[in-house]
Subunit: 462 residues, 2 copies
């Protein structure tokens, strides 16, 4: 393990500078205005993979943004690790809430990151965490310690639903053949208490459009006499939760896995302070489904959130208008066994059913993905657990995450292999928010831990 510490110590400045270069590219996949930047980012990732020592690196065209594939095969008889990550990032807005420009990375110390953290969109999700794997390979190549074969598949549409990946994977099963899939796109409890994500929530993301009159109307001449699509949309959204914050869509909970008392007790052991949680978010109270605590609400329970809403006059001043249309983006987080396509259908039918005759409703499914659970008795989990224990000096706790990496379920279905989610970020790293950052400590610890996973996974595979 000494050679690892030594190499990281000697190269950490460069490791950081190279990541900073990557973060300067605004690879926002959700906004076509950035499409050239997304493509440039793919080229940059290709460059770094070649530099790290892969002997085959390709930009694979897809119906959407390309997938960067790379491999280093040292012996077909040895196990193969497939590393997945994404080079695209979330939109940066609201930009005015960033303390520094989202694509001009700066390193600042924070209470949780005394060694400093890199502030930039994508610093943690997922450029920083993806790049740890590139640097870990470089380390193993330069120190001649790569114990097995490795493949990389880095996509550019994770933040918009990975539709091209779903197209790519079934068409390249042989090329992607592997014994375990390794992803760093999740978090851990703290820098003192590592954790490994064993469960992910699924996702169904839809956009709804409510149309009232065929044109915007004067709210004085028509107000009170015609359905106002914004009022109606608000009413429809409100009706999606009952007074206990249960979701009211018929059949929504039918397949939800209810955890046993024991499992819930296990989960409850996770260190957690409700006061600190509220303080960190500056809220007087939490809010959620009756009968479940905060950590259960955001991990083992399905949810429905409006991610965006707009309609009518939103400019400066006042406009007395009744809008013709109102819109909302709505996403549902799903738990294992809930099928996202089925839930999307249930939502669509229900939302159309509850619309009054005085408006027209269109529901456009955006994308989605299944939930997932990793067995903690698998070789992959054991190898990851030993690796963290070596580098952090503490055994990682298995946790269910509330987030979604839809493609994990796809991998299991298409490639028949399990995914290990070795996350090194913290919940406080503000991914998807202004001032996203990634601790320098976490970044370097990741680079140190990954080679040990390769070592233990290869040993345990014998």
């Amino acid at each position: 393990m000494e050679h690892i510490k030594k190499y990281v110590h000697e190269n950490k400045e460069r490791f950081i500078n190279e990541l900073v270069d990557l973060l300067k590219l605004p690879s926002v996949s959700a906004d076509s205005a950035f499409s050239q930047d997304v493509l440039n980012t793919a080229d940059k990732v290709k460059f770094f993979l070649e530099q790290a020592g892969c002997d085959k690196v390709e930009i694979c065209e897809t119906p959407g943004y390309p997938i960067v594939y790379a491999e280093k095969i040292i012996d077909p008889a040895l196990p193969t690790v497939l590393v997945y990550g994404h080079y695209d990032v979330q939109p940066a807005d609201p930009i005015d809430l960033w303390d520094s420009p989202p694509f001009e990375p700066v390193i600042k110390k924070t209470a949780l990151h005394p060694d400093g953290a890199i502030f930039a969109r994508g610093a943690c999700d997922d450029k920083g965490q993806m790049f740890m794997h590139v640097k870990a390979l470089e380390l193993m190549m330069k120190t001649n310690t790569l114990p097995c074969n490795v493949k990389f598949m880095i996509e550019g549409e994770e933040e918009v639903g990975s539709s091209s990946l779903s197209w790519f994977v079934p068409r390249n099963k042989e090329k992607l053949k592997n014994d375990v899939i390794l992803i760093s796109d999740t978090g851990m409890i703290s820098n003192q208490q590592p954790s490994i994500t064993t469960g992910l929530r699924g996702l169904s993301y839809v956009e709804v459009e409510v149309t009232g009159p065929n044109r915007d109307l004067h709210s004085g001449l028509y107000g009170g006499a015609v359905a106002n699509p914004i009022n109606i949309l608000s009413k429809m959204i409100a009706s999606l939760h009952d007074e206990n914050n249960h979701i009211t869509i018929p059949g929504f909970y039918d397949k939800v896995e209810e955890l046993s008392k024991e499992e819930r007790a296990e989960m409850a052991k996770r260190p957690f302070s409700l006061d600190e949680y509220k303080k960190a978010l500056d809220i007087d109270d939490v809010y959620g489904e009756s009968g479940y605590d905060t950590n259960e609400r955001n991990s083992i329970r399905p949810t429905l959130d409006v991610n965006g809403i707009w309609g009518g006059y939103t400019g400066e001043g006042a406009k007395t208008v009744i809008a013709s249309k109102a819109f909302a983006k709505i996403s549902m987080r799903l738990v294992p066994n809930q099928d996202w396509k089925e839930i999307t259908d249930l939502f669509q039918k229900h939302f159309e059913n509850i619309a009054p005759k005085s408006v027209k409703v269109v529901v456009k499914p955006h994308h989605g993905g299944q939930g997932y659970v990793t067995p903690i008795d698998s070789i992959g989990y054991q190898a990851a657990s030993k690796a963290y224990t070596d580098t952090f000096g503490a055994t990682p706790i298995p946790v269910r995450s509330g987030g979604s990496i839809p493609i994990v379920a796809l991998f299991e279905e298409e490639l028949k292999s399990k995914t290990i989610m070795m996350g090194f970020g913290l919940d406080s790293d503000a991914i998807h928010s202004p001032n996203e950052h990634f601790g320098v400590f976490n970044y370097l610890k990741g680079i140190e831990t990954i080679p040990l996973f390769y070592k233990y996974f290869t040993e345990l595979s014998k």
Copy 2:
């Protein structure tokens, strides 16, 4: 009356071209980006008032946009008519729904306007209707038929609450002294059946802000565990109406004037086809307060409409975020006897009360105004009625409008005179909407009718 028809006939091309010039100026008072255009419009109005024959025209400075004042005093012993209008216009958005640019006027024939209509923002509300009075004065001056004194007060903030006018009027009572106030900023039933607006609704306009967590959050990591301000705002808005579409704000209806069976029967005589109404708006059904029909809902009943809503990610694609804040612009149309300040307070208290502990709510009152009723036995109403009867060949029907001209109540309070609302627009002219227009027939009829009002008002005042 022949001299009137003759003058209009000989000058109508110029009348139209001068209005087109005025409409080319984007005097959007709600958006500070247009402030210079608003000021230029005031200068243009001054120019036209001088050209029409006023012997005193001033640009009166105010805390906001200036008020253009003009007068033609022929004999202090004669009655004085004060003409009010506004030179500012509503914002043009959504601009992409306009068939032609909002500030590049075009004349097109429509089913209701076989002689053509001028399409532009402000064509009807209120530049076109205000300009009829300028041209009517020119006509009376050029034909030596002005029978009384006239004053003009044209403001630039009607679309944003007339706050500077409320400042100006009390400070200029002597200057504004008059016997009747004449406004053309309302509509009439049809080009075959004129009507005079005898009632206006009051207005209370507020903006609300709901804040949940102190930053945007990842909807996977926090979804279900914290209050989503968009879901909460939707819920709060939904709760403002009950299942009968009565407004739920405590005390909201306390002072609402309930009309007698007789009055409601009188109103019901107004020609109206629900099918045509629905067809014109392309809606399958109307929607409103139980126990009242469509024409009652939008005239004698108070309402609450969301005029704009926004929050979270509203861009292209998908962003799985829980927004920190959600906003809405909400306006209430009030009926005579409801005090807008009192209603604004009731709204504010109620909205703050219904907010769950998990969010913070701010209610910002925008502006408002009182409702108003004109007695139909007044000299002013009688003079207007006779004028319309002469030019349209049909006696106008008195109607209550759902719209608000808050300053009408102010005039009565400060200047102690009644306002006559001689509107020449049609409900279908799409004021406050894309493709606003004003019929050439209506424009010229207005210029013909106004001098007759002066004539009859002067005679009846003797």
